[in-house]
Symmetry: C2
Subunit: 602 residues, 2 copies
């Protein structure tokens, strides 16, 4: 690419407003540098910067040199090599079918640099689960632990507030806690040994709730440049992982560009590419084609695979009476295969072999919910729960193979049926992390399904879901563009954060409190900068009060100066100091009656 006539596509870079990227070194592993974003506030506040979790990678670091034709630095390579349990291999050659037989101008150029893939030596399990069980705290574990504390250096002193429904959220996340959670199967660090560009993160019920953004081209539209930018764009706004759901041509090459530039875990659905390889004819799928695709993608560095191995032949009839049948692509492909051949799913039958592949690269499982409900009418039905029980069974097999596992969940579920999903998942899947799509709480708002699902996502996140897969406004209608990606990400950051607050994650409320203080003190710039989307907050404010002076005004366009409740509150507070109201309030709270009504009722 650097020598070709096509210029290297550019991506969005630069820090967010008032933000500075800082790096915290490890203690067990001093070589790790864990990123954090510090948002500065106005000196008048007399407050330290607010530290927030930062999944945006080097793109928001002004010190980083970004060239997507070179990819990100491969810091993890040394950690992986140091373990001594993997080796570089020749790897599988790229074949024409990997890119849908695209040639000439229709072929997306290969990523310019080819690194030899690595694989476990001699059948070893090189997974974070294997290390955790062996009592090893890896650099990845310490890295994830430091991230979770968001700059706090010790356990919070204050009493915690929240309802966690039986989770075990610690006051302070230690590397040992991360190790223990992984060893128990309650958390995963998706981190393929062939993805050394990764900044590790942990997914589990006792950690901050994460969000995933889906990208990917389809047969109808999109290109490599757009997809890389969508990835960068989605993590800029807070996506913790990204799934590449491409289904058209050039799948292999586009994925290479994405992974080489991705500081976050990348997930895929290998079945999509396998189907492309057999010309889109589901019954023509074979274990051999599928197996080859797994190796292809594992060598590229995919961090987690959605595997629809829970769609068994016997489940298919359960979907026949449904309002919306099978809405998962992977689920419908496998159901079609099973029914056509009238035999058990090859994914189910070969599941142990799939585990053997995944453990050699540390590809995590995201066990797919191929039978998730696609409508309120189908929520929590026999098909959905039959599959979930199979996923529980597969979880045990994967764990026996030292593979990391999370479980995918619905879908469309009305509010009163959400908690049953979480409870059943925890029970049948042994507390493996739950990773849900929404759920959408009503079917009647296409165009707004980020909102119908944001409601369900916040709730199921509170109940214990570890990662929320975003839904964009285009869901059910079309492919998301850049704006849709951002809207989806911000909506899901809201849902995840609302869940963190409700679960009582220590430190979660720090940002709310800082923003609310800024609001109360009319520090408009701080209010924008501390928000999830400073650009939008600022532009909305400017629409009605564009002048710079208004950024320091002690009122806004909503009420104008006369009606400003906040300003009146400040006057009250000033008066309070005069009158010693705090003392009076204490007496009132203690049951005293301070003020006798001058007249009227008692």
């Amino acid at each position: 690419m650097p020598d070709s006539l096509t210029p290297t596509p550019s991506v969005t870079t630069g820090p967010l407003p008032a933000s500075r990227k800082v790096h915290i070194p490890g203690k067990l592993h001093p070589e790790i540098r864990v990123p954090l974003r510090e948002i500065a506030v106005h000196p008048s506040a007399g407050e330290p910067p607010v530290a927030v979790y930062d999944s945006s990678g080097p793109y928001t670091d002004p010190a980083a040199v970004i060239d997507i034709a070179r990819g990100l630095p491969r810091a993890r390579a040394a950690w992986i090599e140091a373990r001594g349990d993997t080796e570089a291999v020749a790897g599988r050659d790229v074949r024409p079918e990997d890119n849908g037989f695209a040639t000439g101008e229709r072929l997306t150029p290969a990523f310019p640099i080819r690194n030899a893939p690595r694989r476990a030596k001699g059948g070893a399990a090189v997974t974070q689960l294997a290390y955790a069980r062996a009592g090893i705290i890896t650099p990845e574990m310490e890295y994830a632990a430091i991230r979770e504390n968001m700059g706090r250096e010790r356990a919070a002193a204050e009493a915690r507030d929240g309802e966690d429904f039986g989770a075990s959220i610690p006051d302070f996340v230690t590397p040992e806690f991360v190790r223990d959670e992984i060893a128990r199967g309650r958390a995963i660090i998706p981190a393929n040994i062939n993805h050394p560009e990764l900044e590790p993160m942990v997914i589990g019920r006792n950690f901050l709730v994460k969000i995933n953004a889906n990208i990917g081209n389809s047969a109808v539209t999109s290109s490599m440049a757009e997809e890389v930018e969508k990835m960068v764009w989605s993590i800029r706004w807070g996506a913790d992982t990204v799934m590449d759901l491409s289904t058209g041509r050039n799948i292999h090459n586009i994925r290479d560009w994405i992974i080489r530039n991705a500081p976050i875990p990348i997930g895929t659905v290998p079945l999509y590419q396998a189907l492309e390889k057999v010309g889109g004819i589901a019954p023509d799928l074979t274990w051999e084609v599928y197996r080859d695709t797994l190796i292809e993608q594992a060598e590229q560095g995919v961090d987690y695979f959605t595997i629809h191995a829970g769609v068994r032949l016997a489940h298919v009839p359960l979907t026949v009476g449904r309002t919306t049948g099978i809405v998962s692509r992977g689920g419908s492909i496998m159901a079609s295969w099973c029914l056509h051949h009238h035999r058990e799913s090859f994914l189910y039958e070969h599941f142990e072999e799939i585990c053997d592949i995944c453990r050699a690269y540390d590809v995590s499982f995201s066990l797919g919910d191929g039978l998730r409900p696609g409508s309120i009418a189908d929520a929590n039905d026999a098909a959905q729960f039959a599959e979930l029980e199979t996923l529980g069974e597969l979880t045990k097999i994967a764990w026996a193979k030292d593979c990391q596992v999370m479980i995918e969940g619905p879908g469309h579920v009305p509010m009163h049926k959400i908690k049953a999903n979480m409870d059943k998942q925890l029970k049948v899947c042994g507390e493996a992390p739950f990773y849900t799509l929404g759920p959408l709480t009503t079917d009647i708002a296409p165009g707004y399904d980020h909102i119908t699902s944001g409601i369900g996502a916040a709730m199921i996140g509170w109940f214990g879901t570890a990662m929320l897969c975003y839904v964009t406004p285009k869901e059910h209608l079309g492919l998301p563009d850049r704006d849709d990606v951002k809207t989806g990400v911000i909506t899901y950051k809201i849902a995840a954060h609302a869940a963190d607050l409700a679960k009582g994650h220590p430190g979660a409320q720090v940002r709310d409190d800082a923003l609310s203080r800024a609001r109360f003190e009319f520090r408009w710039e701080d209010q924008f900068n501390l928000s999830l989307d400073p650009d939008t907050a600022r532009s909305f404010h400017d629409e009605t009060l564009p002048k710079e002076a208004h950024k320091t005004a002690h009122f806004c366009s909503m009420c104008g100066p006369k009606f400003c409740s906040m300003r009146i509150s400040h006057d009250l507070r000033a008066e309070a100091q005069k009158e010693g109201m705090e003392a009076m309030a204490r007496k009132y709270r203690d049951g005293g009656q301070l003020y006798m009504p001058v007249g009227g009722r008692e």
Copy 2:
């Protein structure tokens, strides 16, 4: 206006796509004509039209002649006169201060038609509550009952699904049920006798969840024409009531234009206008100015008043330690007044006289939560709950005066503290309807507070809140424009509908099911038309697949034809019919093992 040089402003009219307005006559009161919207589906579906609740008024009726300088037809006038307990009075003359002393070009012209206001004869209570207690089923009650059933003519035969947390939702809403709920104080029909243009509706925990949209000019911006259009626009998308929160000049005249053109209940905060009358100086407020404002607005036809009578002097000190003080404008004004004079609130002291005014016009109370929390940090604190207890006390007084009451609620509340609000409100306010603002479940997303609050609104609606006050994307940042109003309304329709589904309202799922069937059968046009916002759904679809032919395509841009799970599902279903899979599924569900795995694990 018709003779002036200024053309009469226009508003948005015309039916929604594929929709027809139908009118259902009453049985007890054959003269009433209750509107309903029927959405037609494609003949290939073989399904009847879907009937949905219609709050949009004559504006969506192609048969109606709309001229906002004439106002809407006054159908209710005859019902009110027929009761014989009210009389036309001269009424209060408009005074210069009613419009903020605006003159000349700055004065919004008066509404061209002046109708003599009516008032109860000889101190009678002419409220729906008084009639309900007397065992009278008014036309308003029957009207509201018919609306609630959304075209169903009898109780649903199927079993109901949902969790209603102790509500008493009937299978079918009869006029007698509405009467009984009102008599118990569990529901209200806000319906001022001076608002005969009103299409009555009921607000209560055992009815469909309603939503309110706020409009209103401020000292900084907006005009009469814009506000009337915002009202029409908000009900087009489903707002059930509208609050006019104007605070600038011309409050009186703009309100007249709004009410004369409003088929939905109009609420106000009379304190805002009273404050304007005393030049914006809170301590200068007097009971006399406030009382005069109540009469002014009651004669105009305001259907419900927000009265912040729960902000008592003794509560003020409880707010001093808060992160965001008092964020309610009304609350801060009253707190300021109390503190300045160091005496009890005049609203609290004169509450019985306020009731005497309200009962003479049937203005419902919306008891304001002047001390609602403005941040996560302040949620559920002593100030908030002290006020709520006072509101419970005031509810009993209002009920003793035959006045209808609802109670306003928070605010900013994290998810785990929402239910406590609902439970406490039900307990201390004797099940009077709860009317909440959001609540916002986090503070960190200005620009997206329709979403932070939509999450809380859906949840509290499920728990029992009767009406949800919308929040727009501009909350905390600026005044909502037309687009923001629409986004706020649609978001809250989603929240209210999600709540209806979760509560198990009979009939609520009909629209979800119809839309999901359309989705499964690739009836794209039906999918758009059945959605809350057909225009947006259609335009999103057209962005990627603009051609008309694609509206009948059996796939979409998301997956393309090869990967379409829905299409594959159809193929499965066809195969199923061949193989009799439904029978097999039954056996599977009964515990049978139909398919033995060909190989692999059991």
